[in-house]
């Protein structure tokens, strides 16, 4: 018997994503991914000064503020063919790497671990045994029996207050939860430690960006950081030394905790390497520019077709037409006026046309992007596979370490092909975090070296020509390929489109009715209990969904999506 399940809202953070599945014989047979709010942030930018665009775009999303700022200045610089001083590249690169490390740690521990880890089961663990297991995998200093006992006691106190619902979607005790109590306790302890380390990573963004959550130091043409090693209010030796300490502190958490936890949890859920592959065309862009023009990068990017690494085609520079020419967005199944076929972002239109949720018609506020007229998956998995294809040594090294650790726990060799899966996306994100840490350390060294040569330059002044110029700025963001596209006429923004990672992954069927990555990845997922579709949540969460930027925050229907009974109601209205 076919049963329809609807999960709404899907994200534990901002943005409304609705997933519909048809389940037959305990398996998903059809799936729809729907963004439930209208976007149109780009409309605010029309007519504005291109130098200010990044200030607005970083407000698109509260989680990914930095990435929209970076992509925006790159788009305008690309349109003007403006070079960026080396120091500015290095400072931006450090912000981007630190932000990525912060974001990936938060995703694994705070936004998705509880899909796999049963926090209530941790209460029945033996802390001594947990410590023994943890120490057999890693020499991390906080894997002591005393520490695990302390976490267990605090957790027990909290559970007794009846507030646990805050933490999990309520799936503890679910038949798909497979970890022994001791592993659940280890992961829970690391959940709390991770809160401190994500904070540590974010300090680098705060110092270099002057402020978080919205950095203030960017400018079209460079950064506003003044390098003066002696002055108190600028980038001084003291601040640089502090950053170096933070980089060192992060190293051990990434390698001794995050890498080990993902390998162990992944090995114990090895069956999940069989589900969740979905769209196996992978797109990533190169990032961490090493020169002023954006022709050499610390991290490669490109396109892989059909999951076959030998098909890899690199994207080689900011001006590479291979990327610029091959992106389109379709709206056949999205709530926008269409009829013109899939459009290139420079020609993109955002004119709403709402219908109801129509299974075979329009059902989402997210557009459907394509690369070379096909769907593509973006994100850390695409990033890691493309880097491996490009022969990127740090990526290959960290991937081998992770697969070896997982293989040792599972007692079987785990091939790279296992990455094409739900659990594989978590593994790839973790490998990428280790790579980002290497890059962070490298960019720090490059900055110090360049300052040592007496180069204090951080900014090239932009000049806007009469007439029309166009540019694309791309960035390999934590959730994957982000691109901002701008048309500038007489120094003012004439058109602006952001094609964000969650648009690539969460988009509905395209103009050829081909499913998007979320939808395709759900096919054949097992469903143990349709009333509690934990398996659907696992697969969608593995993409790190964040729709705040793919769509808009307003629920145009003003319908109540989550029924709540608020104690805080002061108007006597129950809602």
């Amino acid at each position: 018997m076919t049963k329809r399940i609807v999960v709404d809202p899907m994200t534990r953070i901002e943005g409304h994503l609705r997933i519909d599945c048809e389940v037959d014989d305990g398996k998903v047979t059809k799936a729809w991914s729907s963004g439930q709010m209208w976007r149109g942030i780009e409309l605010i930018l029309q007519g504005r000064d291109p130098r200010d665009a990044w200030v607005f775009t970083q407000r698109i999303c509260g989680v990914c503020t930095t990435v929209h700022a970076i992509a925006s200045v790159r788009a305008v610089e690309n349109a003007l063919d403006l070079e960026v001083p080396l120091n500015a590249q290095y400072i931006r690169n450090m912000i981007v790497a630190a932000h990525g490390i912060h974001d990936h740690i938060v995703h694994f521990y705070h936004l998705s671990a509880l899909d796999w880890v049963d926090i209530v089961s941790a209460l029945s663990a033996d802390p001594a045994k947990a410590s023994q297991i943890a120490q057999s995998l890693s020499d991390w200093h906080m894997n002591s029996p005393q520490h695990f006992k302390q976490v267990q006691d605090r957790l027990a106190n909290f559970v007794n207050t009846g507030q646990l619902g805050v933490f999990a979607s309520g799936y503890w005790g679910h038949p798909a939860m497979k970890l022994p109590p001791e592993i659940n306790l280890i992961a829970t302890a690391h959940y709390f430690q991770a809160l401190d380390y994500q904070r540590t990573a974010n300090k680098i963004v705060s110092i270099l960006g002057s402020k978080t959550p919205h950095i203030q130091n960017l400018a079209v043409g460079g950064v506003a950081n003044v390098i003066n090693l002696d002055s108190q209010s600028t980038l001084t030796l003291e601040r640089l030394a502090f950053i170096k300490n933070v980089i060192d502190e992060l190293h051990d958490f990434v390698h001794k905790v995050y890498m080990v936890d993902v390998a162990a949890v992944g090995a114990m859920y090895a069956d999940w390497t069989q589900y969740g592959a979905g769209v196996m065309n992978y797109l990533s862009v190169p990032d961490f520019p090493l020169d002023t023009k954006g022709t050499q990068f610390d991290m490669p990017g490109g396109y892989i077709k059909g999951g076959d690494i030998s098909t890899y085609q690199p994207i080689s520079s900011y001006n590479d037409s291979f990327f610029e020419d091959n992106v389109k967005e379709g709206v056949k199944h999205a709530w926008y006026q269409g009829g013109k076929g899939a459009l290139h972002p420079y020609d993109g239109e955002t004119i709403p046309q709402y219908t109801d949720f129509e299974d075979d018609g329009k059902y989402s506020w997210v557009k459907a992007p394509t690369f070379m007229d096909e769907r593509a998956q973006v994100g850390p998995l695409a990033n890691v596979l493309c880097a491996v294809a490009a022969g990127h040594e740090p990526t290959k090294r960290h991937l081998t370490t992770l697969l070896d650790t997982a293989g040792a726990v599972a007692g079987a060799e785990i091939p790279v092909a296992a990455l094409h899966s739900t659990i594989g996306r978590h593994a790839a994100r973790c490998v990428r975090t280790a790579v980002l840490h290497d890059i962070l350390a490298n960019q720090y060294n490059l900055l110090i070296e360049n300052i040592g040569k007496g180069d204090y330059s951080t900014f090239n002044r932009p000049e806007f020509p009469k007439g029309e110029v166009k540019g694309v700025g791309f960035h390999e963001a934590p959730r994957g390929v982000l691109s901002h596209w701008t048309v500038i006429r007489d120094g003012k923004i004439a058109n602006y489109q952001a094609v964000v990672p969650s648009t690539w992954n969460a988009g509905p069927r395209d103009d050829n009715d081909a499913m998007g990555p979320y939808e395709a990845s759900l096919m054949d997922n097992p469903i143990a209990d349709p009333e509690k579709p934990l398996e659907v949540i696992r697969t969608v969460h593995s993409f790190d969904p964040c729709l705040a930027c793919a769509i808009h925050m307003v629920d145009t229907e003003q319908k109540e999506i989550v029924k709540v009974h608020g104690v805080g109601s002061q108007c006597g209205v129950s809602f």
């Binding site: 989680v63 605090r154 507030q163 805050v166 805080g568």
Partner: protein, 178 residues
């Protein structure tokens, strides 16, 4: 005029002991009245001298990135648009037991990560002693930087509520001469 750029605690790297009070404005300024919390803290630093023990932060719609700003505080004063199914423009203040339900239920678009932060801090024994949410029922939530007149005209009233709250906590502000 001082602006949002000067609000961040950009010297936080020098010390691990934050100031005891955080006034946190939340909201998305691209969505009309949704940005009220941010507009209130902007006006606050523009018109008042903030006591040395108080940080004022434009938190936008950030989630766990705010953990660093919240950990170790004695008092947290949040300013935000609150959908309480009231008449637009209704002022709403939540205290004590009312606050967890505000953060837990889907009343504000940014509360889910904040609820996680507060719950985690509670488990670790580092939750602020007092959390107050000062807000208003929004009217217009379309795309745009302009707020509705109804809500925009009440920014000063909300600023005054924050000032009153700071005084109650023992941190009086001084009005800047204009």
């Amino acid at each position: 005029m001082r602006s949002a750029e000067h609000m961040g605690a950009d010297l936080s790297w020098t010390t691990d002991t934050p100031k005891p009070i955080l006034v946190l404005g939340l909201g998305n300024i691209l969505i009309q009245d949704e940005g009220i919390g941010v507009r209130v803290v902007e006006r606050l630093v523009e018109h008042y001298q903030i006591p040395a023990d108080v940080d004022v932060l434009d938190g936008g719609t950030a989630g766990l990135a705010l953990y660093d700003d919240i950990v170790g505080r004695k008092h947290l004063v949040v300013v935000d648009a609150i959908d309480n199914r009231c008449e637009p423009g209704t002022l709403i203040t939540l205290r004590g037991d009312e606050v967890p339900s505000f953060f837990r239920n889907k009343v504000s678009p940014h509360q889910m990560a904040l609820s996680d932060i507060l719950a985690a801090l509670e488990i670790m024994g580092e939750k602020p002693a007092e959390v107050v949410v000062i807000g208003i029922q929004p009217k217009d939530l379309g795309t745009g930087l302009e707020m509705s007149d109804l809500i925009g005209n009440q920014i000063d009233i909300l600023v005054q509520q924050v000032v009153d709250e700071l005084r109650r906590l023992g941190y009086p502000t001084v009005t800047l001469a204009h």
